[in-house]
């Protein structure tokens, strides 16, 4: 009896701990929706000269939610959109843990799609059991290569990955256009398009669009978590992020970890691209584009660079992206509102010290340590010798 009483406060302590973890992301999200609502009202009345309508945000958000969760099909759509966000978000999050700010998920995604379609186009006659893994591997490799380059540049010359990954994004765009118009162009296609991925197309598992990639993405969550927190390699990655000098002292090679982490991040973003082309579009034309780049940064930050957190953040963003087109159609609110809300969430997140004071939250020791306080480092000042 007394034992039972002694144990009673424990679930409450656990709850408080959980709350301290999610309170700030949650409040950030709702504050962002609130500011988004103000923007909707103001832009409607001031820019479009519509009559003042305070219920417009509700209409918009309702259309958004409807589009994301309103039916079985919309839930499947949400999951499908979540898939690349989750994969790329995990990549960006692992990068954060190593103190790297990978803004290059966009380019890595595109190259991953290119890699997958390039393999698939040459394996039209193979059975799916071979073609699918091969095409996925092709995408993963191409994405990894696109992450490897900025990693190598940072490790060898100190060139800041923020600048180089952005440049790699633009180079990826140009490369994609060239590949679609050149080497991979299907004979006679106009506008130029690559061949269909054929045998490498991911099988549909649920609904009309729920492809195999969904499973892949959710399976990546425990793997990434295990890698980061239960393996020595993960410890090395986190050590380099928290203190590269001490990591070196501990016998870790920070240059190697930087290259490795960027390659892993690129691989995950590349897989995201591969899943998108193999599971949804099946063909690529020159307008093949993505917002996964920015979204995955927000997802990783919102998920506090923790794979489980990233999973929930990706679901949230998947829902918002899935609901945005119905919102534009049904409520006349442009889809770009979602981007703006994204920025607002981040804003409230990084101003969390201010938010915590408002919420009267006391930081639980260790809960604050998400790793992304260590990203800003001056260009080329690192002592990685």
């Amino acid at each position: 009896m007394s034992q039972a009483i002694a144990r009673l406060p424990r679930p409450r302590a656990l709850l408080r701990y959980l709350w301290s973890l999610i309170a700030v992301p949650l409040v950030s999200f709702f504050l962002a929706l609130l500011v988004g609502a103000i923007v909707i009202i103001l832009s409607s009345t001031l820019v479009l000269k519509n009559p003042f309508d305070p219920t417009l945000p509700l209409t918009a958000y309702q259309a958004l939610a409807q589009g994301a969760f309103g039916s079985f099909n919309s839930v499947v759509t949400t999951l499908v959109i979540t898939t690349p966000l989750l994969l790329a978000g995990l990549g960006v999050g692992i990068g954060f843990r190593a103190g790297l700010f990978n803004i290059g998920a966009q380019g890595q995604f595109l190259m991953g799609a290119v890699g997958a379609v390039a393999v698939a186009a040459n394996m039209q006659s193979s059975p799916p059991a071979i073609a699918i893994p091969a095409a996925l591997a092709g995408g993963a490799l191409a994405g990894a290569a696109w992450g490897f380059v900025p990693g190598l540049l940072k490790a060898t010359s100190g060139a800041h990955e923020v600048v180089t990954t952005i440049m790699m994004n633009y180079i990826a765009l140009a490369s994609l256009a060239w590949i679609v118009k050149g080497p991979l162009k299907e004979m006679g296609s106009n506008p130029p398009t690559t061949p269909d991925v054929g045998a490498a197309a991911l099988p549909i598992l649920i609904g009309s669009t729920g492809h195999l990639g969904i499973l892949l993405a959710f399976a990546a969550v425990p793997i990434a978590w295990f890698l980061l927190f239960r393996t020595t390699r993960g410890f090395e990655i986190r050590a380099v992020g928290a203190n590269p000098d001490a990591a070196r002292y501990a016998g870790v090679n920070p240059r190697l970890m930087i290259v490795l982490t960027m390659s892993i991040a690129g691989m995950l973003a590349g897989l995201a691209g591969a899943c998108t082309i193999l599971g949804i579009s099946h063909r690529m034309n020159t307008t093949f584009q993505t917002k996964v780049g920015f979204d995955s940064i927000t997802v990783a930050l919102l998920g506090r660079s923790n794979p489980i957190g990233i999973m929930f953040a990706a679901l949230l963003f998947g829902a918002m992206r899935a609901g945005a087109p119905p919102m534009q159609i049904n409520a006349g609110i442009p889809v770009e509102l979602v981007d703006f809300i994204q920025a607002l969430i981040l804003l409230f997140l990084i101003a969390n010290a201010v938010l915590r004071r408002l919420l009267r939250l006391r930081g639980v020791a260790g809960a604050e340590q998400t790793g992304f306080q260590t990203i800003t480092r001056s260009y080329g000042r690192e002592t990685l010798t």
Binding site: R230, F235, R238, Y249, G251, A365, G366, T385
Partner: protein, 509 residues
């Protein structure tokens, strides 16, 4: 200063401190690290706000909310860590904040140079106003700091541990300068924990301990023993009982080692040394003579330019930190926040920082949390690390406990060689004693110990042999038990009689 009180979370840094300073006197503030000297001075200089108490200048209560208020009252401070900007010139550093202006927008650089030369001349030294501060010696930088205060026509000068980085000879020169300033009618607060210096320079001495004033003395009425007791709060043994050493075979052998610093300058220029099991070799030297680079090269953190390092008869030149560690070398780095710990990580991770990858802490790629926790708990107990749990981040511990964490990690097991760089810098007396005792224990257990310290006293107390490092070379070896402090000090300053390249520029005339 009346009844100054400053509380930080968990500690009272200053507890109702009274301090008065008369015109033209040199008033020493004596206390060990962490006694609250620097906090008190930061309050006087407006860098910290007191919770209670008031400051009076010329009998009037004043409010000092920031350094600019202090400067306006003629109070100037020379900080322990120089507040100089390396990439700017001497003149730019001196005039910063009170620039000589050609017009409301642009600087008058010629006028600045002129004034600086004049001021320096008045107090008997020379400085090139256009030289970059980063190109100056530490002693010259100290003069730039004092020049800054004179340029602002300071009436009250606070010097925080001004001799910490100086050679005995440079210290003497600074003392001459300070006496000149006092004669000129300026008042000086001289903060130190070095008893003999305080006795030499001060007109009055105020001793503080744990944030409280525990005594005021005149140099003539006291001696170092009494001051030490006041400072520490009990009678202290000024020397450690180091016992007999029994050196056996050669453990570390270094041949003609050359190492470059981050800027590519060769700062270790041909070091030859042998250390045997069971002996402590102390390296004395003024900070910045290549000690840190030498040590970093030994443990694999810095590339060796040329030369050989032998460990237990094996060539380990250019080995990685991991390989050195695998050879059972313990290393306590000078900068524990930069190298020794990952502050954001829990104690458990920090306690296995150099062995996380091998059994029992990992099997293959998978870490063993239970084994790590067990080892961490045991080390924390054994080394008396004060912490609520082994799961808290290392940054929550005090400096002394952080250092114990590193020591417990590096001293554990059958270490063949211990490399200690400033092992007690910035620690309280209790922690210092604790660590010193452990060092002697490791020596007696047959470990070869290399001790580098900027505290000459520490080197003299612990070492069986002493090597003096000067400009990248070991210029002399002396027996640790017979070493004479003045003799070693002279070697530190000049590199010995054979070296005629005595610092010519910037010395006082």
């Amino acid at each position: 200063m009346r009844g100054i009180t400053k509380r930080y979370p968990g500690v009272v840094a200053n507890d109702h401190i009274d301090l008065d300073l008369r015109q033209g006197e040199i008033h020493a503030l004596l206390g060990e690290n962490g006694a609250g000297k620097t906090t008190l001075m930061n309050i006087l200089y407006g860098l910290a706000v007191p919770d209670e108490g008031e400051i009076l200048v010329d009998g009037q209560a004043v409010r000092i909310a920031g350094p600019s208020d202090a400067i306006a009252r003629g109070i100037e401070m020379v900080h322990q860590h120089f507040m100089l900007i390396p990439v700017l010139s001497v003149a730019e550093n001196v005039v910063l904040g009170e620039e000589t202006m050609a017009n409301p927008v642009f600087l008058d650089r010629r006028e600045a140079s002129r004034r600086i030369r004049k001021l320096a001349g008045r107090f008997g030294f020379e400085l090139d106003p256009d030289a970059k501060v980063e190109s100056l010696s530490v002693g010259q930088q100290q003069r730039v700091e004092i020049l800054k205060t004179l340029y602002r026509d300071a009436q009250i000068l606070v010097l925080d541990e001004p001799t910490a980085v100086l050679t005995p000879a440079e210290t003497e020169e600074i003392f001459v300068l300070l006496r000149n300033l006092a004669k000129d009618g300026r008042s000086i607060i001289f903060i130190s924990h070095k008893l003999n210096e305080v006795l030499e320079i001060a007109d009055r001495i105020t001793v503080i301990r744990r944030g409280r004033v525990v005594g005021e003395r005149r140099p003539a009425e006291t001696d170092d023993k009494e001051l030490a007791e006041l400072m520490v709060g009990r009678s202290v043994q000024l020397t450690v009982d180091r016992g007999e050493s029994h050196p056996t075979e050669v453990m570390l052998k270094v041949e003609d080692l050359h190492v470059r610093d981050d800027r590519g300058n060769e700062v270790v220029r041909g070091v030859d040394v042998e250390i045997r099991r069971g002996e402590i070799l102390g390296i004395a030297g003024v900070a910045g003579n290549g000690q840190d680079e030498f040590v970093e090269a030994l443990v694999g953190l810095r590339r060796v330019a040329s030369g050989r390092v032998w460990l237990n008869g094996r060539n380990v030149t250019g080995a990685s930190p991991r390989q050195i560690n695998e050879a059972n070398v313990g290393y306590v780095p000078a900068d524990r926040h930069r190298f020794g710990l990952i502050l954001a990580f829990p104690l458990t991770d920090n306690l296995v920082l150099t062995s996380y990858y091998k059994p029992p802490f990992a099997h293959g790629l998978v870490r063993d949390g239970r084994a790590i926790l067990a080892a961490a708990r045991q080390r924390v107990r054994e080394y008396d690390v004060r912490t609520p749990s082994t799961e808290v981040a290392a940054q929550t511990l005090s400096g002394g406990n952080q250092q114990k964490l590193i020591v417990s990690r590096e001293f554990g097991g059958d270490t063949t060689l211990l490399v200690l760089d400033q092992p007690t810098r910035g620690l309280d007396v209790g922690s210092i004693e604790f660590i010193h005792k452990r060092i002697i224990e490791k020596r007696d257990a047959g470990t070869a110990v290399l001790l580098v310290s900027a505290e000459l006293d520490e080197v003299l107390e612990l070492s069986d042999r002493i090597a003096v490092m000067y400009r990248g070379k070991l210029v002399a070896f002396v027996d640790g038990r017979q070493a004479d402090k003045n003799q070693v000090g002279l070697l530190m300053a000049t590199g010995g009689a054979t070296d005629e390249t005595h610092e010519a520029t910037g010395t006082s005339t």
